[in-house]
Symmetry: C2
Subunit: 148 residues, 2 copies
Amino acid sequence: MPKIDLDSIEQLNRTGYPPPFDRDVAGRFVRRLSPATGLTDFGVSHVILKPGAWSSQRHWHDGEDEFLIMLSGEALLAEDDGTTVLRAGDCAAWPKGSTNGHHVRNESEEDCSFIVMGGGTNTGGGYSDIDMLFTADNRYVHKDGTPY
Amino acid sequence: MPKIDLDSIEQLNRTGYPPPFDRDVAGRFVRRLSPATGLTDFGVSHVILKPGAWSSQRHWHDGEDEFLIMLSGEALLAEDDGTTVLRAGDCAAWPKGSTNGHHVRNESEEDCSFIVMGGGTNTGGGYSDIDMLFTADNRYVHKDGTPY
């Protein structure tokens, strides 16, 4: 196929996060590019963050590698050891299994956008700053295992 | 880890293509980001094409999905049914198994750059415009199976 017509792909603005953790991603708009283009070997999403929005709660994956490429605007990448500004063309990689949680957040006055991809198998993972884990069957639980 | 320091990653300018097919990729400079960052679930490369250079011979993969994100400059995406110009932020996806061969080439006067990723398992593939196949064990052969 020729280049992807992003405008033709639905933007999703939902989250499964329980309150109040859903509020931080309220300004996140996601286009899932893999199902739209027939890819099955990895997941690719196009993400727009409105000013103030986060990509996710700061998290890690036990079984899935992640890779991000900044497309436009400016985002702040936060990890255990601090923050890094990402601008168009900047890339970041998060190997599965590292418990150094990451997310990006838009602290600028303009929209920012990026591509993020994930591979491997969901075997669960954790959140660095809140009392939450995600499970291999895509549920959110407290760190003691009780459900939200 | 914070953003990837691209300058710290070696640029590779080699190809296994037999002559004369190697000439078209002589101006291709590749940084392999997955081994440099500890990713194993998919391959990610940063590629610079000098003016006149091709990303590859026009090809397809039988067992590997591919995805490309244009970072800078201008490239021409060529497929069976024609060409499309790609500029920064444009994306293209090639599901494994489609025999609609693809490549990008730099017909501009300036360098262009992109990120390309691949997943799945190499089970071989083909080339659209030349008498060549690649095999599951990474050899180049004629379409009748004889080696180069």
